[in-house]
Subunit: 320 residues, 2 copies
């Protein structure tokens, strides 16, 4: 089941798993910046410098992100900026997103753009260009806009809207995580409905995701077509792992969203790999938990990140 | 079933239906700009002016959109910019989107931002702020970023992720269209699966959308919580209309995507209202069909828009 990329690149799953293995830490840091998370002193600096408060907001969250990245790039393999939090600051938010992605990549981190994009094929192609690929500006001249390594997608429209992303997985070593079972209470509204063949709707989605990723399995044994699987139901996560044996799993919900380390790794493979656990708020606002100064948010984040890493390591060890 | 907004505003569905009624035209013009659609002379102007080709691209599509809006604002009630096509030009694309929305609103058009956004509640709130509402930049100081009237959403995550948008429907007269049954071939992958209770998954989604919109029904008899219903299956559209009697329906797929006028209005209410039909490519590239100069794309768009309007009118008349 090994997959050689035609361009000689290892695939996204290999890149991600390799980075996780080297740091021995299956954590992805969610970068979901809200102005309130930025210490007053830092914010005030930019609001005094800029006439346009939206630009000040954009620069504040960019600097906030940079300091979080600096504090963790040697211990956390990947970041996951959530696009909504940048879009809410308009054009300046989008610029902060672009520079955050570039900065994280320059520090060797893998970037998962959390946009949950979805549309019909031609429009999905535009999203793929915007977030993972590049855009033609003149005949023969293309420019990378965001250059993320991976994107989260919503596959409600089926394979047509996923195929443009798969093309970049095949040709450019990119990755996707498709929503399978989310962790929010109303996931039951649609995802948990029972089909006449006995599966739930989310299990049917899992089967599709498993199928779409079957030709993108890397040397690590996992596919560049991953799945988002909520961690508040560990039994569910284990069942989904069995259903999608080669699917890399992105687990939201560690820390502030409630799940503990044992729950978070419930969907990892029998080899203790093939998964990555997201924490956003618990890392960005760790200064509160550790009773540190708001100004020391980055040091607090590192402290919390090390604690989370150690908890995940212990949870994985006690599984085997 | 009449609904008075607490702030005295009529609701989104009333605003949209009123505009449709006044122009006697249930058309929404999709603004999905691709640089290739822009005539050479117009593009060259901006590429000569700007050192940054991405900025030139953004300005080109903005001017292209403005001319389409100028050519149609007296005959077409609404525009639907598809966010992917702006995101592919990066920050400058996002700025073109912002200015396109502002320009369309200044010409009295209703703006439906086609972003198919979706996430858990807190993140959906950020999307709602970004696209429909406003964002707090300083305590007590909020700024509107895009200010669209309505957004398309994907409700795979259930009500949690929809509620932040509903709040703006209730409090600010905004609207949403939730994906129910899309028109692409692989809509069958998930949407058409059969549930154990006999419904399809998309029918279950329709029932949810119908329920979520029940307290947002305006004087026109339709709700600010609308549904996207693909028009390539007219029988399906009629069945969904019966299932969601008060839901405003957004019909994609007229013109270049294949469906004719009779199919497009199949999901309208028995009163010949409660629906709006999108055309994007067929309007933006009408100069080809009408064998006109590329430079006259706006006049060609108007010609095609009048033809489409007349076809829709005839199709609605022949139904009754």
């Amino acid at each position: 089941m090994k997959h050689e990329m035609t361009n000689g690149l290892s695939n996204f799953a290999d890149n991600l798993q390799d980075k996780i293995d080297r740091l021995n830490n299956p954590t992805v840091m969610g970068l979901d910046p809200i102005l309130d998370y930025v210490p007053d002193q830092l914010r005030d600096y930019f609001f005094e410098q800029c006439e346009d408060p939206a630009m000040a907001a954009g620069l504040s969250i960019l600097e906030f992100n940079r300091r979080l990245i600096d504090a963790t790039a040697d211990i956390i393999p990947a970041v996951k900026p959530q696009l909504a939090y940048y879009e809410q600051y308009g054009v300046h938010g989008w610029e902060a997103l672009r520079q955050t992605i570039a900065y994280a990549k320059s520090k060797g981190m893998i970037v998962i753009a959390d946009g949950k994009r979805n549309d019909i094929g031609s429009t999905a192609s535009a999203y793929a260009s915007a977030i993972l690929g590049d855009t033609e500006l003149r005949p023969g001249s293309r420019q990378e806009m965001l250059g993320a390594d991976c994107i989260t997608v919503n596959a409600w429209l089926g394979i047509d809207g996923i195929e443009p992303f798969l093309k970049l997985c095949r040709e450019n070593g990119k990755g996707i995580f498709a929503l399978v079972r989310t962790s929010n209470p109303s996931a039951i509204d649609i995802q948990d409905l029972k089909l006449e063949d006995g599966r739930t709707v989310y299990e049917a989605m899992a089967d599709k995701v498993n199928e779409w990723g079957s030709d993108l399995i890397g040397n690590c044994g996992y596919s560049s077509v991953g799945a988002v699987v909520g961690a508040t139901w560990p039994q569910q996560a284990a069942e989904l792992r069995a259903r999608m044996p080669h699917t890399m799993i992105l687990v939201p919900g560690y820390g502030a969203q409630g799940a503990g380390a044992a729950d978070a790794v419930a969907g990892f493979g029998p080899d203790g790999r093939g998964g990555i656990v997201n924490a956003s708020r618990s890392l960005m606002t760790a200064w509160k938990k550790h009773k540190m100064d708001h100004e020391s948010f980055d040091l607090a984040c590192r402290k919390e990140a090390l604690e989370m890493r150690n908890n995940l390591r212990r949870a994985l060890e006690s599984r085997s």
